[in-house]
């Protein structure tokens, strides 16, 4: 009797409950994620691709996209280099404060981006703690490209590090010992043995940093001044155009940013798969 009951409930589970749950999942995702994403494309195509292309190739839009790519690239280069260096120091050397430093490096992502921007202004702004001395020397770190890069570095600080350090820690020390007995200096060992082994982690870390940096808004809008054709990144451009009422202009760049993000995302997934196989 109970066997029949359980068999029945199993069939029920397969043919009734399973599809209901799947539909429920998709149903929740629709208004929250799927539809908004789709809107970018649907709305943009609605007025015809001609208009879209015009908005996209306007000088301001192109500048914004180029600035975003430039600042993200600079941020990525710096943070990956730093990530490798920091991973090396914190893995190879034991000293009091080792753990503390690791935690501190991971802190920046937890801080609200508006706070990040604000704090940078307090430090480097024309009346800032250090900025005032810069102002006297006629130098400026805020409201220009440097500001954007500084803010992005802060916000994406732990991303490459977090990808690289675990891999470095997991590398068996015997390879470095072997290299040393063969006669390699520390640098030679690092360059020929350690770095190649970190290739996957470095690429993943770089992609994560780049993606995050590309979309950064909160800190950028505070430190850059949001001047069109000067310090306006792509997310800032979208914000500005929308506020002006130029929805098409905003839409065009939004589509490009969205596509770029999808592309990077796909690269990250495939990079992870490729290097996890090893």
């Amino acid at each position: 009797m109970s066997a029949a009951v359980s068999r029945l409930s199993r069939i029920e589970a397969q043919t009734v409950i399973k599809p209901i749950n799947i539909l429920l999942l998709i149903g929740i995702m629709m208004p929250l994620v799927l539809l908004p994403l789709a809107s970018i494309f649907i709305f943009g195509m609605g007025k015809g691709t001609g208009h879209l292309w015009e908005s996209l190739t306007s000088r301001e839009a192109l500048f914004a996209l180029k600035l975003s790519l430039l600042t993200s690239a600079a941020t990525t280069v710096f943070n990956v280099a730093f990530g490798v260096f920091a991973s090396y120091v914190l893995t190879k050397y034991s000293f009091p404060g080792n753990t503390a430093l690791t935690v501190i490096i991971s802190l920046p992502t937890a801080i609200p981006t508006a706070v990040v921007g604000f704090s940078l202004l307090l430090l480097w702004g024309p009346y800032g703690l250090l900025g005032q001395y810069l102002a006297e020397a006629n130098l400026q770190l805020m409201f220009n490209t440097w500001a954007i890069i500084l803010a992005n570095i802060f916000v994406t600080f732990p991303l490459a590090f977090g990808s690289i350090k675990p891999v470095l820690e997991s590398i068996n020390v015997v390879y470095e010992e072997a290299a040393e007995t063969i006669g390699a200096t520390r640098w030679q060992t690092f360059r020929h043995i350690t770095l190649p082994a970190l290739r996957g982690a470095i690429i993943t870390g770089a992609l994560l940093t780049f993606a995050r940096s590309l979309g950064e808004f909160g800190s950028t809008i505070m430190v850059s001044g949001n001047l069109a054709m000067r310090t306006q990144t792509a997310p800032l451009y979208i914000f500005a155009k929308f506020n002006e009422g130029d929805v098409e202009g905003a839409n065009a760049v939004a589509i490009v940013l969205a596509l770029m993000s999808f592309a990077i995302f796909t690269l990250i997934i495939s990079a992870r798969n490729r290097f996890l196989e090893k």
Binding site: N172, V174, Y175, E177, A178, A179, E180, T181, I182, G183, A184, T185, Q188, H192, I193, P196, A197, R199, K278
Partner: protein
């Protein structure tokens, strides 16, 4: 002062004055090497030399300090005190990369992101050799280890034996002064082990670079070595040729670690050793003994002669009457456990060894004899036989391994333990 013999400087028994004579002779010279980790002493005053073209094997159980010794010579650790000399150059304060040594690690440690070729070329590449020189050397080495067809493969695509050969080629590429092998056969299966052992020995003899192996496998040590240094708990118990170590052990540990051993406790009396009512002649080359001294008599199972069996030599020392306990057929030889009566009363009849410990009057001896002899003269449990010894070693009571004394009860257990460990012949 008598001239320094080969054995003297092999065992480090030379003083400071003669250092200048010794050091140039030896390829590797280790003096009073000591190392502790915190409170735990791992090595205590290790001394040995290795001659040019010679193979030295450091043999010992885990924890005996052999790995540490190798790492100290390689330069991967620094000693607390002592000296390490390579070809007359003192290296113990030098970094590993300055010592010009070649190390073959237990898991080979081939660089996973490089091909076989690149691995072998690594030592030359970091020394900024010309591409032509690198190419020539790598080709020569690939030929020597017979891996030419695999030159472009990655380490993960090779078998254990192939990886080992790459590791050797990689270590040889830059012309090291000594090769250090860290249990290189441990990761291989039984079949490959013996074959590769011989190949490597032949290779080393061909290129005449001195080598130091570490292992816990006695068979490996006996086959590979020109000299064996037996380590136990951070100290060298004995250094000698495989024949010396096996046939003339100087401590109980050495006797029981290499091959099986029977150990009997006896007492010196008037040129004889008394074992209960039995006796054996006291060897002439024994260090001075006084009547009443306690000694240990050590002999291997294959040294026991069953009366009526060959070889019959006048030098065979008669031991006594005994009863056979168990017989096992081990393929090329037959193993018997035998109850030797120490008091020459009627030997215990048909008392299987498994049934409880023998009385204090008798001891269990392990005997082996070749298969042909077993077929010629078959024996069965419970039979009475008389046994003699073709050779035996006598050690003073204190010559036990460091930290353990030898009692007659312990030696019985010792013999059982030896066979439990499978330390067969």
């Amino acid at each position: 002062m008598r001239p320094i013999t080969q054995i003297d400087w092999l065992e480090g028994r030379t003083d400071q004055k003669t250092m200048a004579d010794i050091i140039p002779l030896a390829a590797v010279c280790v003096r009073d090497l000591t190392k502790s980790y915190g409170k735990e002493s791992v090595l205590h005053r290790i001394n040995f030399n290795v001659r040019e073209g010679e193979i030295l094997v450091l043999l010992g159980p885990s924890g005996s300090g052999k790995s540490t010794t190798l790492r100290l010579i390689a330069g991967l650790e620094t000693p607390d005190s002592g000296e390490i000399w390579l070809h007359g150059r003192r290296v113990d304060s030098l970094r590993s990369r300055e010592r010009n040594v070649g190390v073959i690690f237990q898991q080979y440690a081939l660089f996973p992101q490089m091909t076989v070729e690149e691995n072998i070329a690594f030592g030359l590449m970091i020394r900024k050799k010309s591409r032509r020189e690198i190419q020539t050397t790598v080709n020569r080495l690939l030929e020597m280890v017979r891996l030419n067809e695999h030159r472009s493969k990655m380490p993960s695509q090779l078998s254990g034996g192939q990886q080992q050969r790459v590791a050797i080629a990689r270590a040889l590429a830059y012309g090291p002064e000594v090769l250090l092998f860290d249990e290189p056969f441990a990761a291989l299966d039984e079949q490959n082990r013996a074959r590769l052992r011989r190949e490597i020995r032949a290779l080393l003899k061909n290129i005449r670079i001195p080598a130091i192996f570490i292992t816990h496998d006695q068979e490996e040590a006996l086959e590979l070595a020109d000299h064996i240094a037996v380590l136990n708990r951070g100290r060298i118990e004995q250094i000698g040729t495989p024949a010396e170590i096996y046939s003339r052990p100087q401590t109980e540990f050495v006797a029981t670690f290499l091959g099986a051993a029977n150990i009997l406790a006896g007492r010196v009396s008037g040129g004889w050793i008394e074992l209960g009512a039995l006796r054996l002649a006291l060897p002439e080359d024994m260090p001075r003994t006084v009547d009443g001294d306690k000694v240990k008599v050590i002999f291997r199972p294959e040294d026991v002669i069953i009366n009526g069996c060959l070889p019959q030599r006048p030098s065979n020392h008669y031991l006594g009457r005994s009863v056979i306990g168990e017989i096992s057929f081990i393929g090329s030889y037959e193993r018997l456990t035998v109850n030797l009566n120490l008091h020459q009363s009627e030997p215990e009849l048909a008392r299987p060894v498994a049934e409880g410990p023998p009385s204090n009057d008798s001891v269990i001896i392990t005997v082996t004899r070749p298969r042909w002899e077993a077929e010629d003269m078959p024996l069965g449990p419970g039979q009475q036989i008389t046994i003699g010894l073709s050779s035996y070693t006598v050690l003073p009571e204190q010559a036990s391994d460091h930290g353990a004394a030898g009692h007659i009860e312990r030696h019985r257990r010792g013999v059982e333990e030896v066979f439990d460990e499978g330390a067969g012949i």
